[in-house]
Symmetry: C2
Subunit: 219 residues, 2 copies
DNA sequence: AAATGTTTTAAACATTCGTTTATTCCACGC
DNA sequence: GCGTGGAATAAACGAATGTTTAAAACATTT
């Protein structure tokens, strides 16, 4: 039963620990001891710690990328040249994000990893993600452009990242926030609850009126 | 000229390096060599690396906390019992945030540090901030409550954090985003530009319609 | 000018880290 | 059954980390 099962055990353990403590704060020794694998196994199977980090992301992002492309294909067929409404695009994005890690009910981990990818130094990771999954974001970005023709180019760019920030920041810091919410409001929220709450906020944010003097610095 | 100037040089250097690379990825040797002070100076003046991290935050948050309390005092006098409008509260918050680090034009660093405080492990930091500055947030939170009486308790809580996420995430990852924006839109944004763009989005987000079935889980 | 207390300095300390090496284990084809 | 190759293991390596020590330099007070 040993064989490649070692690789899986390493990945399973690493993603949880990375999500909890970050990359630099998680040592290979912690990972391998918790995974009950020999220390050298990481370097043997993955080559280096950096490569392990990338592999952890790939295991989430590869299926996500594939499914999301597929979902967008279907939408484009369905709307046949017409612009796909913003709500539909966001809904599809949310659904795909929810579907992918559903099997291991590790949505929390997935989101936390995404947050780390942004905020932790790890230049190699940003490059890796940009290189491997940049086209998915580009495609989504193009569709959002057609859904919000009233927005100036730059304004849409920034608002998309605003909303990305909202979602990733909230879901990645969820545990800490949930503790406070539980204590103050005696109300326990699931990730799905949160996404339901996020939707109207994100839509409203994207459709907010333009800032007072938006045409000041036009490219 | 040496004396306590050492402390300042350490803080100045540390905050920049922390903001660039994070806490764990920044060694005391990097800090002290760049600051041109002896390695042992950090432990001598601050006691430990953790204490240095907290000192870096205190140098921003102490003046911020004081000024913000003061600004809220003035607003409460001005509105004399009436609820202070949400826009005014957000405007005041933004103004205070902009004012504090203005002297060293290090708003970027400040924001990046706030982002790190959320996302990096560093449990001691979260505790420190919670303990020292929790009351400022509480007070602001109470005022927002009075400004948005139509929002259910929990919904307001979450939306406040959504918006916090938007701002901190965007401004803390600003450099990376700005690179993309510069390249794609040939338009250079300043932090103040971004804040101008953020305002309508944040306001719209806070005032978005309630989610479809918001009363499902009522405390 | 001597004494005192504070700050700076260089060196060492004890850990911890990622990675590598050399050996052993184990399954499979001949 | 034997030998071959991939995988697991224990041990070690070198580098880097935060912290401590003990001596030197400095400033301040008497």
């Amino acid at each position: 039963m040993a064989q490649t099962d070692t690789v899986t055990r390493i990945l399973d353990t690493a993603e949880v620990l990375f999500a909890e403590r970050g990359f630099a704060e998680t040592s290979l020794r912690t990972i391998t001891s918790k995974a009950k694998v020999n220390l050298a196994a990481v370097n043997y199977h993955f080559g280096s710690k950096k490569a392990l980090i990338q592999a952890v992301f790939a295991r989430y992002l590869d299926p996500f990328s594939e499914r999301f492309h597929q979902a967008l294909d279907e939408l484009e067929v369905q709307y046949r040249g017409e612009a796909i409404p913003l709500e539909v695009l966001l809904e599809t994005l949310a659904r795909t994000v929810l579907e992918v890690p559903a099997e291991r009910n590790s949505l929390k981990v997935f989101m936390r990893l995404l947050g780390l990818a942004y905020t932790q130094a790890q230049g190699h990771l940003r490059r890796y993600i940009q290189e491997h999954y940049g086209n998915v974001f580009s495609r989504f970005s193009d569709l959002v452009r057609r859904a919000t023709p009233e927005l100036p180019e730059a304004e849409r760019f920034w608002r998309l990242h605003f909303m990305l920030g909202t979602v990733i920041f909230t879901l990645s810091g969820l545990d800490a926030l949930r503790d406070i919410a539980d204590k103050d409001y005696h109300e326990h929220v699931s990730v799905r609850d949160l996404i339901r709450r996020l939707r109207p906020v994100v839509v409203a944010g994207m459709q907010a009126p333009l800032p007072d003097d938006a045409l000041k610095v036009a490219g």
